[in-house]
């Protein structure tokens, strides 16, 4: 008997028990759908995290210290290595109340120099960046993030307007393009950026700061530079080996790796759960195939009496099992993609169509059918013709 006949026979006998076949496949459908969904969500999460990190700057690093930095530290750090391209203090991040006419906004302050915009590759939409003079002379000027600008000024040009930041008047000299949500979910565009000198004096009330943000000439120099900075700070602060550092140097890559590690761990966990559901589905198929074999013992006897070989019977039942599991696989893939698609729309993640995960899921579901269908099929084909024929 050839494969097309066997397939026809399998489809026909499954069709005779539609409800049972559908319920049997349900385990596989759910298993495969969850695999597809999980893999998709995992990939989307990873990609969106990576995008966030890249907007933050792939060659960037941030240096945090418990012992505050002062302005001369900035120059010393720059000279400690030859790879730093941009370096800026990060003053504040403090929550402030912003007011323009009768509009209020809760926002955050950042005190930086112009290198900050270059590290972030953050273009202006209105106005301009700071001038050196503005920074040196503690000028009360601000550049607004996109959502801060929108809530205060709507669509009108904010340049030249005076706003109150914690009741201190500042002049708006520019606004920035949209950056989007941080992967913590925080709105990075709700920000009021001012010269670090001004931020220290008017907002923080001190002239030193705890964070420095820097970038290197290229992405592959980041780790090396971070290492040199670490060594420089250790020796400058006389930290002996074994003693805890009072500073941290975090690179974008570390953040990326951390995010990817979390995503990967999550994916493995989810894949584990999904495989368990596939195995449970497979056991369901095996169970029903065993029932089917014993229900159809007479049919097997008749087929043997008219000339079916053992392998014909084996293949008949094996193909039935594989049809159940692969059919469930196809339904599961469809369902999984659909749910994944809905989720990406709801969360605003990119929808990534992975042919690889679909192919793997399909093959795996087929393999589940072969694995769990073999024993019942073997049992059927091992029957003696006369015993099968006489079975009541």
């Amino acid at each position: 008997m050839n494969v097309s006949n066997l397939l026809l026979t399998a489809l026909r006998s499954l069709g005779k028990n539609k409800m049972r076949s559908a319920l049997t496949s349900l385990g596989i459908i759910i298993g495969v759908a969850s695999v597809i969904m999980m893999v998709g969500i995992g990939n989307s999460a990873r990609v969106s995290v990576r995008d966030k990190v890249y907007t933050y700057g792939a060659n960037a690093m941030s240096i945090n210290s418990e012992r505050p930095f002062t302005e001369p530290d900035l120059e010393r750090l720059r000279r400690s290595t030859s790879y730093i391209k941009y370096i800026t203090p990060m003053v504040g991040r403090k929550a402030v109340n912003v007011k323009f006419e009768n509009r209020f906004l809760e926002s955050r302050v950042r005190g930086v120099n112009n290198d900050f915009f270059r590290i972030q590759e953050w273009p202006v939409t209105f106005g301009r960046y700071f001038t050196e003079l503005e920074i040196l002379s503690y000028e009360k000027v601000v550049i607004l993030g996109d959502s801060a600008r929108l809530s205060l000024f709507g669509n009108s040009n904010p340049v030249g307007r005076i706003i109150l930041v914690n009741n201190v008047p500042f002049m708006v000299i520019g606004s920035l393009s949209e950056l989007g949500q941080a992967f913590s979910g925080r709105d990075q565009d709700n920000v009021v950026i001012m010269p670090f000198t001004t931020a220290g004096l008017k907002i923080e009330g001190r002239r030193d700061f705890n964070e420095i943000f820097a970038s290197t000439y290229s992405e592959d120099l980041v780790e090396k530079t971070a290492g040199e900075i670490r060594r420089f700070l250790r020796s400058e602060r006389s930290i002996v080996p074994g003693q805890a550092e009072d500073f941290t140097v975090k690179t974008s890559r570390e953040k990326l790796e951390m995010a990817e590690y979390i995503a990967k761990t999550l994916a493995i966990l989810l894949a584990g759960i999904a495989s368990i559901s596939l195995i449970v589905g497979g056991i369901g198929i095996m169970n029903i195939m065993l029932v089917s074999v014993s229900e159809r013992t007479r049919e097997i006897g008749i087929r043997m009496a008219i000339g079916a070989r053992r392998q014909d019977i084996l293949l008949q039942f094996l193909i039935e099992a594989v049809t159940l599991s692969a059919g469930g696989g196809i339904a599961g893939i469809t369902l999984g993609i659909f749910i994944y698609f809905i989720i990406t729309i709801a969360v605003g993640w990119p929808f990534l169509f992975s042919v690889f995960s679909i192919a793997i899921s399909f093959l795996f579901s087929g393999a589940v059918g072969v694995f769990f269908g073999y024993y019942p099929a073997r049992k059927a084909s091992d029957l003696k013709p006369i015993d099968a024929l006489r079975y009541e």
Binding site: M1, N2, N5, R12, K16, R298, E299, G301, I302, R303, M304, A305, I306, G307, A308, R309, R310, Q311, D312, K384, P385, I386, L389
Partner: protein
């Protein structure tokens, strides 16, 4: 005369438990020539059905020898046995043994599909012809549950013929049928025997049915009690 079946000292023992065994067949020797039409008779438990199952390669023998067309059964593996059941032997059972929820036509086609090598259209054509031959034209698409006993048995006969077997083994083929259908079925067997020269062995306990044949073998307690050939000019039309 060619001997199709040659059985020597055939014994079949069933083990009911480790120390209890039943001899269903106690040493039977028998030859059947090509083109014979014979009936095996006997009370139930006389071993006649067991003997048929062994002849049909459905059951194995415990000792002795069975040659079909000069080939010893014991020397064949399962696949060869399946092939012989498929191509050399046609079975007709008391309980018809058609696949349920499968049309008459598909039931008839099945042995030829298992045999392989034929185009689907060829198989279909041949199955139609055979159904027409047993008088079931127009019933091709009926499932067994919509056919009468006599019709089902005719489907089974058509099925047994599709691979042009040399032998038909019929185990109480009319056991579930009324007298009119019995006459129909026996008429078909007689025609197959005379017109196509197919060797037919049937098991029955009805003398009426046995009277269609030309040789009668009576079994008792797993042994042949009587073996008589009837010389007659066969002219039974079946109707």
């Amino acid at each position: 005369m060619d001997r199709v079946i040659e059985v020597r000292d055939l014994v079949k023992t069933y083990f009911i438990s480790d120390d209890v065994s039943v001899h269903a067949i106690n040493g039977i020797s028998l030859s059947v020539a090509k083109g014979e039409f014979l009936a095996i008779m006997g009370a139930s438990g006389s071993g006649k059905s067991t003997f048929m199952n062994i002849l049909g390669f459905l059951d194995s023998l415990s000792s002795g020898s069975y040659l079909l067309d000069g080939v010893e059964q014991a020397s064949l593996d399962d696949d060869r046995k399946a092939e012989i059941r498929n191509t050399k032997i046609g079975f007709v059972f008391q309980g018809f043994n058609l696949l349920s929820r499968t049309s008459a036509l598909e039931n008839v086609e099945l042995p030829m599909i298992y045999r392989g090598g034929a185009r689907p259209s060829e198989v279909r054509e041949k199955a139609r012809e055979l159904l027409a031959m047993v008088g079931l034209s127009g019933r091709e698409d009926h499932h067994p549950n919509r056919l009468s006993g006599g019709e089902q048995q005719r489907v089974a006969i058509a099925r047994s013929l599709i691979n042009e077997p040399a032998i038909i083994l019929a185990d109480e083929p009319t056991g579930n049928l009324d007298s009119r259908n019995t006459a129909d079925i026996m008429g078909i067997f007689t025609r197959l025997n005379i017109e196509l020269g197919i060797t037919i062995i049937l098991v029955t306990h009805e003398p009426e049915v046995a009277s269609y044949t030309r040789r009668k073998i009576v079994f008792r307690d797993g042994l042949i009690l009587q073996d008589t050939s009837i010389k007659k000019n066969v002219r039974r039309s079946g109707k």
